[in-house]
Symmetry: C2
Subunit: 229 residues, 2 copies
DNA sequence: ACATTTAGTGTATTTACTACACCCTGCCCC
DNA sequence: GGGGCAGGGTGTAGTAAATACACTAAATGT
């Protein structure tokens, strides 16, 4: 084998765009950095990948250390490797996004995050490193993916109303949707279970609650069914 | 800044799935490896990324060293980083695919490639490292991308017939398409220029030749037009 | 000239998409 | 306890897009 020592001087990190949905708004979780560079800036959660750690595992670890959550939806999006993107040397980063139910989320005290906070996406301004570019790539990926895979449900509590679901899609896709057409289409797929329960304590007519039937989806999917919204 | 030295001991490579279309078949370019590990195996072209080189540049370099081609369509797909994927240490690889016109392709003698050869995709068997997985990911990406972006033309000579174009789509999508509906749809987009020329020297009725109008596409695209096939 | 091979064309049917407005139900407040 | 308020919930008609389908045309080779 040729001498490759000169190549083994790089590092890589994972960065994770963590999406949540709350209060009718799509949000992402940012942390106030506790280390240089960019000390005290709000940035994407991320960290170096350990030598004996797979990439997906590293992305999961970052998420779990920060939030305590396991088994969340996680998808690799793109790798960013501009030569000068990190001051400490050659560091490429593998960007992931994940979808969490904000109701499950519980902030963990953590060495890498002094403070974490949910931000509505339009309110996110310039981020350190190339994190703005990473956010954009992940958001774009989510926009496309959410139309062809039933991953929106990862952002909602187990029981949800059709209006909540519609608002979720509206904030991801950044459009308005027609109520009747939306309901027609989503119900026609037969992937929602009507729980015969209604909201409580709302100051208006309570809405019916539904649940997503993941098993049924898997079954249909394996037979060639394509979710499409 | 905390001591991060322990992290700066990794390397990364790019691997490139180079697609071509010839003889009615979608093909990929493999090289017979000239180095350990996996000496003499057919594998994907790829190499280490130099310390001062961006990722896209490295993928372009690999392609150019091998084929002499510049300015080809290139897209990053996914990064593979299993801990044990490379015997020389921790090496993650960023997978790209590229689309070349086989007619332009001219084999370059190269240190990393003793020999290169086009393989029809179904005839590709097990590849070294995780290259089979990489191929699958890139092929899947191409299948999706080709339906929503006019990138198929990158694989055809500048002048082509509608039948050639249809066969190209059929071999990427691995389906049969209806001739009349295909022509109706593609011509309705008004992105093909009828050159008023016909094939010569064919033992049947010669077909008209068309050219893809990339400028027109860019113009329409910027106004919200979506290619969709 | 005739057999072979691929090129090229139109219509009818079905299916999916879009646009659109009113009544219902429960709570709150006066 | 009656009226107002705030969403919840429902159907149809028109339009556009997708599909299925079969014959004639033009060149070459024998």
């Amino acid at each position: 084998m040729a001498n490759l020592d000169g190549f083994f001087k790089s590092a890589f990190t994972v960065d994770n765009v963590i999406f949540g949905f709350d209060d009718g708004d799509l949000k992402i979780l940012l942390i106030k950095r506790g280390e240089e560079p960019f000390l005290d800036y709000w940035g994407l959660p991320g960290y170096f990948v350990y030598p004996d750690e797979n990439l997906d595992a590293a992305a999961n670890r970052v998420l779990e250390e920060l939030s305590g959550l396991k088994d969340v939806y996680l998808e690799q999006v793109k790798t960013f490797g501009a030569v000068d993107r990190h001051p400490a040397g050659r560091v490429i980063t593998v960007a992931y996004y994940s979808l969490v139910k904000i109701s499950d989320y519980k902030l963990n005290a953590s060495s890498i995050a002094q403070k974490a906070k949910w931000f509505s996406i339009p309110k996110v301004s310039e981020l350190p490193f190339d994190h703005s570019e990473i956010l954009e790539a992940c958001f774009n990926r989510l926009k496309r993916r959410v139309r062809t895979r039933p991953i929106g449900f990862e952002l909602l509590p187990p029981k949800f109303t059709l209006t909540e679901l519609q608002h979720l899609y509206e904030s991801i896709l950044e459009t308005k949707l027609d109520k009747r057409n939306f309901r027609k289409k989503i119900l026609a797929m037969n992937l929602l279970v009507d729980l015969n329960e209604t909201q409580e304590g709302v100051a208006h007519r309570p809405a019916r609650l539904y649940q997503f039937d993941g098993e049924k989806y898997e079954d249909l999917f394996s037979k060639g069914f394509n979710f499409e919204l």
